[in-house]
């Protein structure tokens, strides 16, 4: 059953159950929209703070309604469709990037009591349920699938515009997002190995005793996940997709009014969902100390949002600090560093798991594993150097 382990849907499904599900969907939807609004404001405010500026300050207190004002403005603007565009695909593309952004959030547990093996089950209106819209057994694979569909949104938007800069942006984006998805998936795979489940609820429940995957997987997959995630989101320093100085606006150059707003919405929603996924996978999701027992229900969401907020801060901080990568540097980083590193770490974690099962000496496994990894790294470096020199000599021959 695709809706999976939610106890709400395991018994007989009556009207109350359906209403609870609808309520959860509504809350998740509204939460995401408000969160995006605040995230855009937060990003603009924080980045201006980091640049000694003031940032939005007119709309509402501290300019907090600036996003709303922008949204209203975009809503009333003329919606242009270029003459040479493929009209159907051009109209479809914004939704292809928006809908996956919404859907991914459905699998994120944002609350629930995970202490003492309770597996995050709460009781609402006399029904036991999970504080997430859906808990499919495929779990994180659903996230990977959705982020792949988001690539289509960007790619088709660029292609259907019938214009050269969007097309360049789209080609870049598909290459970038596909190659970084490999590293992203491999770093997530180590989490699967440690938790033994794909279900997000299961992954969070597995981290309920302070044994966060951040530590148990050895930090490296987390770092790879954050870097690959930033690239997947097309955020600086990996925003080659919409590199303003080179491509005007990249894939959304030809978009205006509400369709542009949808892309913008999807982009920032993806930032939030990516942060939520990272928190779920590596930082224990809503796990955290219950400080005041009488309001114990408030603490898991509090910890969850605190962790997500920390991620959002880091994303903005990255943007404020790092200049954009060159395209070949981007590809080098993805294919020659992140994918081999995440693959090697994945193998190391797998070996450690087997060592645990068969009672081998774990330090010997680690030593052998690290040795194997460094041999592999050396081989990789040697082959890259060889390929480079071969290419150089080839070019030299062609030139002379």
């Amino acid at each position: 059953m695709i809706l999976g382990a939610d106890p709400l849907l395991s018994g007989n499904v009556d009207l109350t159950a359906v209403l609870i599900v609808l309520m959860k969907v509504g809350i998740a939807f509204a939460f995401l929209l408000v969160a995006v609004m605040l995230m855009i404001w937060f990003e603009r405010k924080l980045i201006s703070d980091m640049q000694n500026r003031i940032g939005p300050s007119v709309a509402g207190p501290w300019g907090i309604l600036q996003t709303l004002a922008d949204g209203i403005k975009l809503f009333f603007k003329e919606d242009l469709i270029p003459n040479r565009s493929d009209r159907f695909v051009f109209k479809l593309a914004p939704y292809l990037s928006l809908v996956p952004a919404f859907l991914v959030f459905a699998i994120v547990p944002i609350g629930g009591d995970f202490r003492d093996g309770k597996e995050g089950i709460v009781t609402w209106f006399g029904r036991e349920t999970l504080v997430q819209v859906a808990d499919p057994p495929i779990g994180i694979l659903f996230f990977l699938a959705m982020s792949s569909i988001a690539v289509y949104g960007v790619m088709l938007a660029g292609w259907s515009s019938g214009s050269k800069y969007p097309l360049l942006g789209a080609v870049r984006s598909s290459a970038q997002m596909i190659s970084y998805e490999a590293a992203l998936g491999l770093s997530i795979a180590t989490v699967f190995l440690m938790s033994g489940t794909l279900s997000t609820n299961g992954i969070v429940a597995d981290q309920s005793t302070w044994n966060w995957n951040l530590v148990t997987t050895g930090v490296v997959p987390f770092i790879i996940f954050v870097i690959a995630g930033t690239a997947e989101l097309n955020r600086p320093p990996f925003d080659l997709v919409e590199a303003e100085q080179e491509l005007v606006g990249g894939f959304h150059t030809e978009y205006s009014a509400l369709r542009f707003a949808l892309f913008f919405l999807a982009e920032f929603m993806n930032v939030i969902t990516m942060s939520a996924i990272a928190v779920t996978l590596f930082l224990g999701g809503p796990n955290g100390p219950i400080l005041i027992e009488s309001v114990s229900w408030i603490w898991p969401p509090f910890w969850f949002f605190l962790k997500v907020g920390m991620f959002l801060f880091v994303f903005v901080w990255l943007r404020a600090t790092l200049p954009r990568l060159r395209y070949d540097q981007l590809m080098d980083l993805g294919w020659k560093v992140l994918i081999p590193a995440s693959l090697g770490w994945f193998l190391l974690i797998a070996a450690l798991n087997i060592a645990n099962d068969r009672q081998w000496q774990s330090w010997i496994v680690i030593m052998v594993g690290l040795l194997g990894m460094s041999v592999g790294a050396l081989a990789l470096m040697a082959s890259i150097r060889k390929a480079k020199s071969q290419r150089a000599s080839q070019e030299f021959e062609e030139a002379t």
Partner: protein
């Protein structure tokens, strides 16, 4: 760890003072020699300084000044001497605020204020007529027109150029008062240390 220093820089900036001034509410103090819109000055007895010689119009590189001189009415003269500026118009859609008209003026009748924050709603407002340019008859302050945004105090020191340099540009006149009195201010003291090396 050279990679992380950049993060420290951006993080430090969070606590630093903001450079931006929230503009329409707060304004920075403008430099003394800022070239804003013009005024037509008066002598201390209220007579206009302009003699309608059209030198300003002749020198204007943007062709934005239109002047017509006329003979002073004998019973009620507008300016001391024979002639006065009968029509005086400056088109601020063309003016580049180069200050050449101020330098050309033989009687220091036209000077530039520090006022520049206008928002016209039609082109006719952009053409300042003599009635709008001439300073107040008793205080010597420029008129506050409805489309101009300035606060009390920003209209002071309207003849910035004359006090900033000696009238003929020669360094021999530095520190010497070599210009006429102004309505509302009298003869002002020369500015110090504005031209540091004599030549």
């Amino acid at each position: 760890m050279g990679y992380l220093q950049g993060f420290a820089v951006t993080f430090r900036k969070l606590w630093e003072k903001r450079v931006t001034v929230p503009y329409p509410e707060n304004k920075r103090v403008k430099p003394a020699r800022l070239h804003g819109r013009h005024v037509l000055n008066r002598y201390e007895d209220g007579m206009e300084k302009c003699i309608g010689c059209e030198l300003c119009a002749g020198v204007c590189p943007a062709n934005c000044i239109y002047v017509r001189g006329a003979d002073n009415p004998e019973d009620n003269p507008v300016s001391p001497g024979e002639r006065y500026g009968f029509i005086y118009e400056i088109n601020y859609l063309r003016c580049i605020h180069c200050d050449l008209c101020v330098e050309a003026c033989p009687t220091q009748a036209i000077t530039e204020t520090k006022l520049f924050e206008f928002s016209f709603t039609n082109r006719e407002d952009a053409v300042y007529t003599k009635d709008e340019l001439v300073v107040d008859e008793t205080t010597g302050l420029p008129q506050h027109l409805p489309w101009e945004d300035w606060r009390p105090g920003e209209d002071l020191q309207t003849s910035a150029w004359m006090r900033a340099t000696s009238p003929n540009g020669s360094s021999e006149y530095v520190g010497k008062v070599a210009w006429d009195s102004e309505l509302g201010y009298g003869i002002r003291a020369p500015e110090d240390n504005k031209i540091e090396d004599g030549e």
